[in-house]
Point group: C2
Chain length 292, copies 2
Protein backbone atom coordinates (compact mmCIF):
# COMPACT_ATOMS: atom_id res chain seq x y z
CA UNK A 1 0.00 0.00 0.00
CA UNK A 2 1.39 3.37 -0.97
CA UNK A 3 1.08 6.90 0.24
CA UNK A 4 1.86 9.16 -2.72
CA UNK A 5 2.00 9.35 -6.47
CA UNK A 6 5.37 11.07 -6.56
CA UNK A 7 7.94 10.05 -9.15
CA UNK A 8 9.62 7.70 -6.69
CA UNK A 9 6.53 5.58 -6.12
CA UNK A 10 5.51 3.02 -8.72
CA UNK A 11 2.63 3.44 -11.14
CA UNK A 12 -0.22 1.31 -9.85
CA UNK A 13 -2.21 -0.59 -12.43
CA UNK A 14 -5.46 -2.47 -11.92
CA UNK A 15 -6.21 -4.87 -14.77
CA UNK A 16 -9.87 -5.71 -15.14
CA UNK A 17 -10.16 -8.86 -17.22
CA UNK A 18 -6.86 -10.18 -15.82
CA UNK A 19 -8.04 -13.77 -16.15
CA UNK A 20 -8.48 -13.35 -19.91
CA UNK A 21 -5.66 -13.65 -22.41
CA UNK A 22 -5.03 -9.96 -23.13
CA UNK A 23 -5.59 -8.92 -19.52
CA UNK A 24 -3.13 -11.53 -18.35
CA UNK A 25 -0.54 -10.55 -20.95
CA UNK A 26 -0.85 -6.89 -19.94
CA UNK A 27 -0.63 -7.69 -16.23
CA UNK A 28 2.51 -9.70 -17.00
CA UNK A 29 4.07 -6.67 -18.71
CA UNK A 30 3.14 -4.55 -15.69
CA UNK A 31 4.85 -6.93 -13.30
CA UNK A 32 7.94 -7.28 -15.47
CA UNK A 33 8.50 -3.62 -16.21
CA UNK A 34 10.39 -1.66 -13.52
CA UNK A 35 8.46 1.21 -11.97
CA UNK A 36 5.04 -0.41 -12.09
CA UNK A 37 3.04 -2.33 -9.54
CA UNK A 38 0.10 -4.58 -10.26
CA UNK A 39 -2.87 -4.02 -7.95
CA UNK A 40 -3.56 -7.45 -6.42
CA UNK A 41 -7.28 -7.30 -7.05
CA UNK A 42 -9.56 -6.59 -9.97
CA UNK A 43 -13.24 -6.41 -10.76
CA UNK A 44 -15.01 -9.51 -12.01
CA UNK A 45 -18.59 -10.58 -12.61
CA UNK A 46 -18.23 -14.20 -11.57
CA UNK A 47 -16.27 -15.82 -8.75
CA UNK A 48 -12.94 -17.24 -9.89
CA UNK A 49 -9.73 -18.53 -8.37
CA UNK A 50 -7.14 -15.74 -7.97
CA UNK A 51 -5.14 -15.23 -11.17
CA UNK A 52 -1.41 -15.82 -10.90
CA UNK A 53 0.65 -13.19 -12.72
CA UNK A 54 4.35 -13.95 -12.48
CA UNK A 55 3.93 -14.78 -8.81
CA UNK A 56 1.46 -12.00 -8.00
CA UNK A 57 -1.94 -13.42 -7.03
CA UNK A 58 -4.70 -11.15 -8.32
CA UNK A 59 -7.97 -11.60 -6.50
CA UNK A 60 -11.17 -11.23 -8.48
CA UNK A 61 -13.65 -9.17 -6.48
CA UNK A 62 -17.12 -10.08 -7.62
CA UNK A 63 -19.15 -6.96 -8.33
CA UNK A 64 -22.60 -6.25 -9.68
CA UNK A 65 -25.85 -7.97 -8.76
CA UNK A 66 -24.13 -10.94 -7.14
CA UNK A 67 -21.39 -9.11 -5.27
CA UNK A 68 -19.95 -5.85 -3.98
CA UNK A 69 -20.60 -2.39 -5.29
CA UNK A 70 -18.09 -1.82 -8.13
CA UNK A 71 -17.83 1.89 -7.36
CA UNK A 72 -16.97 1.20 -3.73
CA UNK A 73 -14.18 -1.15 -4.81
CA UNK A 74 -12.77 1.50 -7.15
CA UNK A 75 -12.89 4.14 -4.40
CA UNK A 76 -10.99 1.80 -2.10
CA UNK A 77 -8.39 1.13 -4.80
CA UNK A 78 -7.92 4.84 -5.41
CA UNK A 79 -7.15 5.35 -1.71
CA UNK A 80 -4.87 2.36 -1.41
CA UNK A 81 -3.04 2.96 -4.69
CA UNK A 82 -2.68 6.69 -5.31
CA UNK A 83 -2.34 7.61 -8.96
CA UNK A 84 -4.03 4.36 -9.96
CA UNK A 85 -4.61 3.69 -13.66
CA UNK A 86 -7.13 1.05 -14.71
CA UNK A 87 -6.69 -1.19 -17.76
CA UNK A 88 -9.80 -2.80 -19.21
CA UNK A 89 -9.59 -6.03 -21.21
CA UNK A 90 -13.04 -7.37 -20.50
CA UNK A 91 -15.85 -8.15 -22.94
CA UNK A 92 -17.54 -6.18 -25.74
CA UNK A 93 -20.84 -6.21 -23.82
CA UNK A 94 -19.15 -4.56 -20.78
CA UNK A 95 -17.36 -1.78 -22.66
CA UNK A 96 -19.90 1.00 -22.18
CA UNK A 97 -20.87 0.02 -18.65
CA UNK A 98 -17.25 -0.14 -17.52
CA UNK A 99 -16.26 3.16 -19.14
CA UNK A 100 -19.22 4.81 -17.38
CA UNK A 101 -18.10 3.28 -14.07
CA UNK A 102 -14.51 4.56 -14.39
CA UNK A 103 -15.79 7.99 -15.38
CA UNK A 104 -18.22 8.12 -12.44
CA UNK A 105 -15.35 7.51 -10.02
CA UNK A 106 -12.76 9.65 -11.78
CA UNK A 107 -10.40 6.78 -12.48
CA UNK A 108 -8.11 7.26 -15.49
CA UNK A 109 -8.28 4.22 -17.73
CA UNK A 110 -6.90 2.53 -20.81
CA UNK A 111 -9.66 0.77 -22.75
CA UNK A 112 -8.18 -2.10 -24.74
CA UNK A 113 -11.46 -4.00 -24.99
CA UNK A 114 -12.97 -3.82 -28.47
CA UNK A 115 -16.64 -3.69 -29.43
CA UNK A 116 -19.56 -2.06 -27.66
CA UNK A 117 -21.02 1.26 -28.71
CA UNK A 118 -17.76 3.07 -29.48
CA UNK A 119 -19.30 6.38 -30.49
CA UNK A 120 -21.33 6.57 -27.32
CA UNK A 121 -18.29 5.68 -25.19
CA UNK A 122 -16.07 8.28 -26.85
CA UNK A 123 -18.76 10.94 -26.53
CA UNK A 124 -19.48 10.08 -22.89
CA UNK A 125 -15.83 10.05 -21.87
CA UNK A 126 -15.07 13.23 -23.80
CA UNK A 127 -17.96 14.99 -22.05
CA UNK A 128 -16.94 13.73 -18.62
CA UNK A 129 -13.45 15.23 -18.63
CA UNK A 130 -12.03 11.92 -17.37
CA UNK A 131 -8.55 10.94 -18.54
CA UNK A 132 -8.53 7.93 -20.86
CA UNK A 133 -6.75 6.21 -23.73
CA UNK A 134 -9.26 4.42 -25.95
CA UNK A 135 -7.99 2.42 -28.90
CA UNK A 136 -9.12 -0.72 -30.74
CA UNK A 137 -5.53 -1.65 -31.67
CA UNK A 138 -2.85 -1.35 -28.96
CA UNK A 139 0.09 -2.59 -31.03
CA UNK A 140 1.97 0.71 -31.26
CA UNK A 141 4.09 -0.21 -34.26
CA UNK A 142 1.09 -1.52 -36.18
CA UNK A 143 -0.80 1.67 -35.39
CA UNK A 144 2.21 3.69 -36.59
CA UNK A 145 2.30 1.79 -39.88
CA UNK A 146 -1.45 2.17 -40.34
CA UNK A 147 -1.28 5.91 -39.60
CA UNK A 148 1.55 6.33 -42.09
CA UNK A 149 -0.33 4.62 -44.89
CA UNK A 150 -3.29 6.91 -44.22
CA UNK A 151 -1.03 9.95 -44.16
CA UNK A 152 0.63 8.88 -47.41
CA UNK A 153 -2.78 8.60 -49.08
CA UNK A 154 -3.67 12.10 -47.90
CA UNK A 155 -0.36 13.68 -48.88
CA UNK A 156 0.18 11.87 -52.17
CA UNK A 157 -3.25 10.94 -53.56
CA UNK A 158 -2.92 8.78 -56.66
CA UNK A 159 0.76 8.03 -56.08
CA UNK A 160 0.06 4.35 -56.79
CA UNK A 161 -2.38 5.03 -59.58
CA UNK A 162 -3.42 1.86 -61.47
CA UNK A 163 -1.20 -0.38 -59.34
CA UNK A 164 -2.68 -3.80 -58.58
CA UNK A 165 -3.19 -4.61 -54.89
CA UNK A 166 -3.20 -8.00 -53.23
CA UNK A 167 -3.69 -8.55 -49.51
CA UNK A 168 -3.48 -11.72 -47.45
CA UNK A 169 -3.83 -11.95 -43.69
CA UNK A 170 -3.45 -14.97 -41.43
CA UNK A 171 -4.92 -15.24 -37.93
CA UNK A 172 -5.77 -18.00 -35.48
CA UNK A 173 -8.63 -20.11 -36.83
CA UNK A 174 -11.02 -18.83 -34.15
CA UNK A 175 -10.99 -15.35 -35.67
CA UNK A 176 -13.99 -15.30 -37.96
CA UNK A 177 -14.01 -11.77 -39.35
CA UNK A 178 -11.54 -9.94 -41.57
CA UNK A 179 -8.85 -7.95 -39.77
CA UNK A 180 -9.99 -4.38 -39.10
CA UNK A 181 -6.41 -3.21 -39.49
CA UNK A 182 -6.22 -4.79 -42.96
CA UNK A 183 -9.46 -3.06 -43.94
CA UNK A 184 -8.20 0.31 -42.73
CA UNK A 185 -4.97 -0.06 -44.68
CA UNK A 186 -6.83 -1.17 -47.82
CA UNK A 187 -8.85 2.04 -47.53
CA UNK A 188 -5.61 4.02 -47.69
CA UNK A 189 -4.40 2.06 -50.71
CA UNK A 190 -7.66 2.90 -52.47
CA UNK A 191 -6.97 6.60 -51.92
CA UNK A 192 -3.48 6.03 -53.34
CA UNK A 193 -5.18 5.04 -56.58
CA UNK A 194 -4.93 1.25 -56.84
CA UNK A 195 -7.25 -0.63 -59.17
CA UNK A 196 -10.67 -1.50 -57.71
CA UNK A 197 -10.25 -3.59 -54.57
CA UNK A 198 -13.06 -4.55 -52.18
CA UNK A 199 -12.66 -5.56 -48.58
CA UNK A 200 -13.91 -8.96 -49.77
CA UNK A 201 -10.79 -9.21 -51.93
CA UNK A 202 -8.67 -9.51 -48.78
CA UNK A 203 -7.60 -13.14 -48.63
CA UNK A 204 -8.06 -14.74 -45.20
CA UNK A 205 -5.85 -17.60 -44.05
CA UNK A 206 -7.42 -19.47 -41.11
CA UNK A 207 -6.23 -22.99 -41.81
CA UNK A 208 -3.26 -23.80 -39.53
CA UNK A 209 -1.40 -25.70 -42.26
CA UNK A 210 -1.65 -22.72 -44.61
CA UNK A 211 -0.62 -20.34 -41.83
CA UNK A 212 2.55 -22.34 -41.32
CA UNK A 213 3.37 -23.27 -44.94
CA UNK A 214 2.34 -20.14 -46.75
CA UNK A 215 2.77 -17.38 -44.22
CA UNK A 216 5.58 -18.83 -42.10
CA UNK A 217 3.75 -18.62 -38.78
CA UNK A 218 5.62 -20.58 -36.06
CA UNK A 219 3.50 -23.51 -34.83
CA UNK A 220 3.70 -22.18 -31.26
CA UNK A 221 1.69 -19.16 -32.32
CA UNK A 222 -1.02 -20.85 -34.38
CA UNK A 223 -3.55 -19.94 -31.68
CA UNK A 224 -2.52 -16.28 -31.53
CA UNK A 225 -0.97 -14.42 -34.43
CA UNK A 226 -1.67 -11.63 -36.93
CA UNK A 227 0.30 -11.82 -40.19
CA UNK A 228 -0.44 -9.29 -42.92
CA UNK A 229 1.10 -8.99 -46.39
CA UNK A 230 0.19 -6.17 -48.80
CA UNK A 231 1.60 -6.24 -52.31
CA UNK A 232 1.38 -3.45 -54.88
CA UNK A 233 2.38 -4.11 -58.50
CA UNK A 234 2.73 -1.50 -61.23
CA UNK A 235 0.53 -1.80 -64.35
CA UNK A 236 3.52 -2.89 -66.48
CA UNK A 237 4.71 -5.35 -63.83
CA UNK A 238 8.17 -3.82 -63.46
CA UNK A 239 7.67 -2.41 -59.97
CA UNK A 240 6.51 -4.12 -56.78
CA UNK A 241 6.14 -2.87 -53.23
CA UNK A 242 5.51 -5.27 -50.39
CA UNK A 243 4.63 -4.43 -46.80
CA UNK A 244 4.39 -7.02 -44.06
CA UNK A 245 3.55 -6.80 -40.38
CA UNK A 246 3.74 -10.11 -38.61
CA UNK A 247 2.80 -10.40 -34.96
CA UNK A 248 3.17 -13.51 -32.81
CA UNK A 249 1.34 -13.71 -29.52
CA UNK A 250 0.20 -10.76 -27.46
CA UNK A 251 3.39 -9.11 -26.18
CA UNK A 252 3.20 -6.17 -28.61
CA UNK A 253 -0.34 -5.33 -27.50
CA UNK A 254 0.50 -5.76 -23.81
CA UNK A 255 3.55 -3.51 -24.14
CA UNK A 256 1.55 -0.91 -26.06
CA UNK A 257 -1.07 -0.97 -23.31
CA UNK A 258 1.51 -0.37 -20.59
CA UNK A 259 2.99 2.44 -22.70
CA UNK A 260 -0.51 3.92 -22.80
CA UNK A 261 -0.71 3.65 -19.00
CA UNK A 262 2.57 5.54 -18.61
CA UNK A 263 1.46 8.13 -21.14
CA UNK A 264 -1.81 8.69 -19.29
CA UNK A 265 -0.03 8.90 -15.95
CA UNK A 266 2.27 11.58 -17.36
CA UNK A 267 -0.64 13.57 -18.74
CA UNK A 268 -2.20 13.53 -15.28
CA UNK A 269 0.81 14.11 -13.05
CA UNK A 270 3.50 15.40 -15.43
CA UNK A 271 2.37 18.99 -15.14
CA UNK A 272 0.50 20.94 -12.42
CA UNK A 273 -3.22 20.48 -12.84
CA UNK A 274 -2.78 17.88 -15.59
CA UNK A 275 -2.94 18.16 -19.37
CA UNK A 276 -5.81 20.02 -21.01
CA UNK A 277 -6.59 17.24 -23.46
CA UNK A 278 -8.01 14.25 -21.63
CA UNK A 279 -9.19 11.71 -24.20
CA UNK A 280 -6.47 10.04 -26.26
CA UNK A 281 -5.79 7.24 -28.72
CA UNK A 282 -2.63 5.33 -29.64
CA UNK A 283 -1.57 7.98 -32.14
CA UNK A 284 -1.21 10.37 -29.20
CA UNK A 285 0.83 7.78 -27.33
CA UNK A 286 3.07 7.31 -30.38
CA UNK A 287 3.52 11.04 -30.84
CA UNK A 288 4.76 11.34 -27.27
CA UNK A 289 7.82 9.32 -28.32
CA UNK A 290 9.84 6.77 -26.38
CA UNK A 291 7.90 5.74 -23.29
CA UNK A 292 10.70 4.22 -21.21
Amino acid sequence: MASSSSSSSPIYVMVNGVSGKMGHATATSVVKRPGYELVPYALTKRAKEPTDVEGVAVEGIVVGESGEDAGAVLERAKKEYPGLVVVDYTLPESVNENAALYVAHGVPFVMGTTGGDREKMLADVEKSGNYAVIAPQMGKQVVAFQAMMQRMSEMFPGAFNDYTLSVVESHQKTKVDTSGTAKAIVESFRALGVQPFDDDDIELVRNPNDSVDRMGVPETYLDGHAYHTYRLTSPDGTVAFEFQHNVNGRAIYAQGTVDAVLFLHRQLYGKPGGATQKLYDMIDVLEAGVMR
Copy 2:
Protein backbone atom coordinates in the same frame (compact mmCIF):
# COMPACT_ATOMS: atom_id res chain seq x y z
CA MET B 1 6.84 22.86 -85.57
CA ALA B 2 4.21 24.41 -83.37
CA SER B 3 2.73 27.82 -82.85
CA SER B 4 1.32 27.96 -79.35
CA SER B 5 1.46 26.38 -75.91
CA SER B 6 -2.33 26.23 -75.52
CA SER B 7 -3.92 23.16 -74.01
CA SER B 8 -4.62 21.73 -77.45
CA SER B 9 -0.98 21.68 -78.50
CA PRO B 10 1.30 18.95 -77.16
CA ILE B 11 3.89 19.46 -74.48
CA TYR B 12 7.26 19.61 -76.20
CA VAL B 13 10.11 17.86 -74.49
CA MET B 14 13.79 18.07 -75.35
CA VAL B 15 15.79 15.25 -73.78
CA ASN B 16 19.47 16.02 -73.38
CA GLY B 17 21.32 12.77 -72.87
CA VAL B 18 18.85 10.91 -75.11
CA SER B 19 21.54 8.48 -76.26
CA GLY B 20 22.10 7.34 -72.65
CA LYS B 21 19.95 4.72 -70.91
CA MET B 22 17.82 7.01 -68.74
CA GLY B 23 17.52 9.67 -71.42
CA HIS B 24 16.37 7.08 -73.91
CA ALA B 25 13.87 5.55 -71.49
CA THR B 26 12.43 8.99 -70.74
CA ALA B 27 12.24 9.93 -74.44
CA THR B 28 10.42 6.64 -75.03
CA SER B 29 7.84 7.56 -72.36
CA VAL B 30 7.42 10.96 -74.00
CA VAL B 31 6.74 9.43 -77.39
CA LYS B 32 4.36 6.83 -76.00
CA ARG B 33 2.30 9.12 -73.79
CA PRO B 34 -0.51 11.02 -75.57
CA GLY B 35 -0.22 14.80 -75.44
CA TYR B 36 3.56 14.98 -75.61
CA GLU B 37 5.95 15.49 -78.48
CA LEU B 38 9.62 14.71 -78.44
CA VAL B 39 11.80 17.47 -79.90
CA PRO B 40 13.80 15.78 -82.69
CA TYR B 41 17.11 17.24 -81.60
CA ALA B 42 19.10 17.50 -78.40
CA LEU B 43 22.37 18.91 -77.17
CA THR B 44 25.43 16.70 -77.20
CA LYS B 45 29.15 17.17 -76.70
CA ARG B 46 30.34 14.65 -79.27
CA ALA B 47 29.08 13.80 -82.72
CA LYS B 48 26.83 10.71 -82.76
CA GLU B 49 24.39 9.00 -85.07
CA PRO B 50 20.82 10.19 -84.52
CA THR B 51 19.13 8.29 -81.68
CA ASP B 52 16.04 6.31 -82.65
CA VAL B 53 13.22 6.64 -80.11
CA GLU B 54 10.25 4.54 -81.13
CA GLY B 55 10.62 5.71 -84.72
CA VAL B 56 11.50 9.31 -83.91
CA ALA B 57 15.07 10.15 -84.97
CA VAL B 58 16.63 12.54 -82.47
CA GLU B 59 19.58 14.43 -83.88
CA GLY B 60 22.44 15.26 -81.54
CA ILE B 61 23.53 18.85 -82.14
CA VAL B 62 27.15 19.15 -81.08
CA VAL B 63 27.63 22.15 -78.84
CA GLY B 64 30.54 23.63 -76.92
CA GLU B 65 34.09 24.13 -78.08
CA SER B 66 33.74 21.79 -81.05
CA GLY B 67 30.30 22.87 -82.23
CA GLU B 68 27.43 25.31 -82.13
CA ASP B 69 26.60 27.71 -79.34
CA ALA B 70 24.38 25.80 -76.87
CA GLY B 71 22.42 28.91 -75.98
CA ALA B 72 21.60 29.62 -79.62
CA VAL B 73 20.28 26.08 -80.03
CA LEU B 74 18.07 26.49 -76.96
CA GLU B 75 16.74 29.82 -78.23
CA ARG B 76 15.88 28.19 -81.53
CA ALA B 77 14.13 25.32 -79.76
CA LYS B 78 12.10 27.76 -77.65
CA LYS B 79 10.85 29.45 -80.81
CA GLU B 80 10.13 26.23 -82.67
CA TYR B 81 8.54 24.45 -79.70
CA PRO B 82 6.63 26.93 -77.56
CA GLY B 83 6.25 25.88 -73.95
CA LEU B 84 9.30 23.62 -74.30
CA VAL B 85 10.45 21.71 -71.22
CA VAL B 86 13.97 20.28 -71.12
CA VAL B 87 14.87 16.99 -69.44
CA ASP B 88 18.49 16.44 -68.47
CA TYR B 89 19.95 12.94 -68.14
CA THR B 90 23.55 13.72 -68.93
CA LEU B 91 26.62 13.25 -66.75
CA PRO B 92 27.52 14.30 -63.21
CA GLU B 93 30.27 16.57 -64.52
CA SER B 94 27.77 18.46 -66.70
CA VAL B 95 25.10 19.01 -64.04
CA ASN B 96 26.08 22.52 -62.93
CA GLU B 97 27.05 23.76 -66.37
CA ASN B 98 23.78 22.54 -67.90
CA ALA B 99 21.59 23.96 -65.13
CA ALA B 100 23.32 27.33 -65.62
CA LEU B 101 22.67 27.12 -69.36
CA TYR B 102 18.94 26.39 -68.95
CA VAL B 103 18.65 29.19 -66.41
CA ALA B 104 20.47 31.68 -68.67
CA HIS B 105 17.96 31.00 -71.43
CA GLY B 106 14.88 30.77 -69.26
CA VAL B 107 14.11 27.19 -70.19
CA PRO B 108 12.14 25.21 -67.59
CA PHE B 109 13.87 21.91 -66.90
CA VAL B 110 13.69 18.60 -65.07
CA MET B 111 17.12 17.60 -63.79
CA GLY B 112 17.30 13.82 -63.49
CA THR B 113 21.06 13.67 -63.68
CA THR B 114 22.65 12.92 -60.30
CA GLY B 115 25.95 14.20 -58.95
CA GLY B 116 27.64 17.54 -59.43
CA ASP B 117 27.59 20.29 -56.86
CA ARG B 118 23.96 19.94 -55.78
CA GLU B 119 23.95 22.73 -53.23
CA LYS B 120 25.36 25.20 -55.72
CA MET B 121 22.86 24.12 -58.38
CA LEU B 122 19.88 24.42 -56.05
CA ALA B 123 21.05 27.84 -54.83
CA ASP B 124 21.73 29.10 -58.37
CA VAL B 125 18.38 27.92 -59.72
CA GLU B 126 16.48 29.20 -56.70
CA LYS B 127 18.09 32.63 -57.13
CA SER B 128 17.43 32.73 -60.87
CA GLY B 129 13.66 32.37 -60.63
CA ASN B 130 13.74 29.73 -63.38
CA TYR B 131 11.19 26.91 -63.20
CA ALA B 132 12.75 23.51 -62.47
CA VAL B 133 12.20 20.12 -60.88
CA ILE B 134 15.45 18.85 -59.40
CA ALA B 135 15.48 15.40 -57.82
CA PRO B 136 18.08 12.66 -57.43
CA GLN B 137 15.37 9.94 -57.44
CA MET B 138 12.60 10.20 -60.03
CA GLY B 139 10.73 7.01 -59.08
CA LYS B 140 7.60 8.64 -57.64
CA GLN B 141 6.45 5.66 -55.63
CA VAL B 142 9.89 5.11 -54.14
CA VAL B 143 10.06 8.80 -53.23
CA ALA B 144 6.61 8.50 -51.62
CA PHE B 145 7.74 5.53 -49.53
CA GLN B 146 10.95 7.29 -48.53
CA ALA B 147 9.05 10.46 -47.56
CA MET B 148 6.61 8.42 -45.47
CA MET B 149 9.37 6.70 -43.52
CA GLN B 150 10.90 10.10 -42.79
CA ARG B 151 7.52 11.50 -41.77
CA MET B 152 6.89 8.48 -39.51
CA SER B 153 10.23 9.06 -37.78
CA GLU B 154 9.33 12.70 -37.19
CA MET B 155 5.81 12.02 -36.00
CA PHE B 156 6.50 8.92 -33.92
CA PRO B 157 10.11 9.12 -32.72
CA GLY B 158 11.13 5.93 -30.95
CA ALA B 159 8.13 3.95 -32.19
CA PHE B 160 10.47 1.08 -33.10
CA ASN B 161 12.64 1.49 -30.04
CA ASP B 162 15.18 -1.35 -29.65
CA TYR B 163 13.98 -3.15 -32.77
CA THR B 164 16.73 -4.84 -34.80
CA LEU B 165 17.14 -3.62 -38.37
CA SER B 166 18.47 -5.54 -41.34
CA VAL B 167 18.72 -4.10 -44.85
CA VAL B 168 19.72 -5.76 -48.09
CA GLU B 169 19.72 -4.13 -51.51
CA SER B 170 20.49 -5.64 -54.90
CA HIS B 171 21.53 -3.66 -57.97
CA GLN B 172 23.27 -4.36 -61.29
CA LYS B 173 26.89 -5.33 -60.68
CA THR B 174 28.15 -2.08 -62.25
CA LYS B 175 26.71 -0.04 -59.35
CA VAL B 176 29.61 0.32 -56.94
CA ASP B 177 28.22 2.47 -54.15
CA THR B 178 25.45 1.82 -51.64
CA SER B 179 21.97 2.96 -52.67
CA GLY B 180 21.32 6.55 -51.57
CA THR B 181 17.65 5.68 -51.10
CA ALA B 182 18.58 2.84 -48.74
CA LYS B 183 20.80 5.19 -46.72
CA ALA B 184 18.04 7.81 -46.48
CA ILE B 185 15.55 5.21 -45.26
CA VAL B 186 18.03 3.80 -42.74
CA GLU B 187 18.38 7.33 -41.37
CA SER B 188 14.62 7.35 -40.71
CA PHE B 189 14.76 3.97 -39.01
CA ARG B 190 17.49 5.29 -36.73
CA ALA B 191 15.17 8.11 -35.67
CA LEU B 192 12.49 5.48 -35.06
CA GLY B 193 14.78 4.04 -32.40
CA VAL B 194 16.27 0.88 -33.87
CA GLN B 195 19.43 -0.59 -32.37
CA PRO B 196 22.70 0.90 -33.66
CA PHE B 197 22.90 0.47 -37.43
CA ASP B 198 25.55 2.02 -39.67
CA ASP B 199 25.26 2.65 -43.38
CA ASP B 200 28.00 0.02 -43.66
CA ASP B 201 25.60 -2.52 -42.19
CA ILE B 202 23.50 -2.31 -45.36
CA GLU B 203 24.14 -5.54 -47.22
CA LEU B 204 24.90 -5.08 -50.91
CA VAL B 205 24.08 -7.78 -53.45
CA ARG B 206 25.98 -7.24 -56.69
CA ASN B 207 26.60 -10.83 -57.77
CA PRO B 208 24.06 -11.77 -60.50
CA ASN B 209 23.55 -15.29 -59.12
CA ASP B 210 22.70 -13.88 -55.68
CA SER B 211 20.42 -11.26 -57.22
CA VAL B 212 18.43 -14.02 -58.91
CA ASP B 213 18.51 -16.72 -56.22
CA ARG B 214 18.22 -14.60 -53.09
CA MET B 215 16.33 -11.54 -54.19
CA GLY B 216 14.25 -12.97 -57.01
CA VAL B 217 15.43 -10.54 -59.69
CA PRO B 218 14.37 -11.69 -63.17
CA GLU B 219 17.42 -12.51 -65.33
CA THR B 220 16.26 -9.97 -67.94
CA TYR B 221 16.81 -7.20 -65.43
CA LEU B 222 20.19 -8.20 -64.05
CA ASP B 223 21.74 -5.18 -65.76
CA GLY B 224 19.18 -2.71 -64.40
CA HIS B 225 17.27 -3.23 -61.15
CA ALA B 226 16.92 -1.86 -57.62
CA TYR B 227 15.61 -4.33 -55.03
CA HIS B 228 15.44 -3.22 -51.39
CA THR B 229 14.32 -5.20 -48.34
CA TYR B 230 14.14 -3.66 -44.86
CA ARG B 231 13.32 -5.88 -41.91
CA LEU B 232 12.54 -4.74 -38.37
CA THR B 233 12.37 -7.30 -35.57
CA SER B 234 11.20 -6.61 -32.02
CA PRO B 235 13.62 -7.24 -29.14
CA ASP B 236 11.71 -10.36 -28.06
CA GLY B 237 11.44 -11.63 -31.63
CA THR B 238 7.64 -11.82 -31.65
CA VAL B 239 7.06 -8.96 -34.08
CA ALA B 240 8.50 -8.39 -37.55
CA PHE B 241 7.88 -5.69 -40.11
CA GLU B 242 9.19 -6.03 -43.64
CA PHE B 243 9.20 -3.40 -46.36
CA GLN B 244 10.27 -4.12 -49.93
CA HIS B 245 10.51 -1.94 -53.01
CA ASN B 246 11.62 -3.83 -56.07
CA VAL B 247 12.19 -2.02 -59.34
CA ASN B 248 13.03 -3.66 -62.66
CA GLY B 249 14.40 -1.54 -65.49
CA ARG B 250 13.92 2.19 -65.88
CA ALA B 251 10.22 2.62 -66.68
CA ILE B 252 9.32 3.91 -63.19
CA TYR B 253 11.98 6.64 -63.39
CA ALA B 254 11.08 7.57 -66.98
CA GLN B 255 7.39 7.83 -66.06
CA GLY B 256 8.21 9.89 -62.97
CA THR B 257 10.30 12.22 -65.12
CA VAL B 258 7.47 12.77 -67.58
CA ASP B 259 5.11 13.37 -64.66
CA ALA B 260 7.58 16.01 -63.47
CA VAL B 261 7.51 17.58 -66.97
CA LEU B 262 3.71 17.77 -66.89
CA PHE B 263 3.79 19.15 -63.35
CA LEU B 264 6.26 21.86 -64.35
CA HIS B 265 4.26 22.73 -67.46
CA ARG B 266 1.15 23.18 -65.31
CA GLN B 267 2.99 25.40 -62.84
CA LEU B 268 4.07 27.61 -65.75
CA TYR B 269 0.93 27.73 -67.84
CA GLY B 270 -1.81 26.48 -65.51
CA LYS B 271 -2.43 29.92 -64.05
CA PRO B 272 -1.89 33.45 -65.33
CA GLY B 273 1.67 34.56 -64.68
CA GLY B 274 2.70 31.11 -63.49
CA ALA B 275 3.07 29.69 -59.97
CA THR B 276 4.95 31.68 -57.35
CA GLN B 277 7.12 28.75 -56.30
CA LYS B 278 9.53 27.87 -59.07
CA LEU B 279 11.95 25.28 -57.76
CA TYR B 280 10.48 21.86 -56.98
CA ASP B 281 11.38 18.28 -56.12
CA MET B 282 9.50 14.99 -56.52
CA ILE B 283 7.61 15.50 -53.26
CA ASP B 284 5.95 18.51 -54.87
CA VAL B 285 5.09 16.42 -57.92
CA LEU B 286 3.62 13.72 -55.67
CA GLU B 287 1.60 16.22 -53.67
CA ALA B 288 0.01 17.48 -56.87
CA GLY B 289 -1.73 14.10 -57.16
CA VAL B 290 -2.57 12.06 -60.25
CA MET B 291 -0.71 13.50 -63.22
CA ARG B 292 -2.73 12.01 -66.09
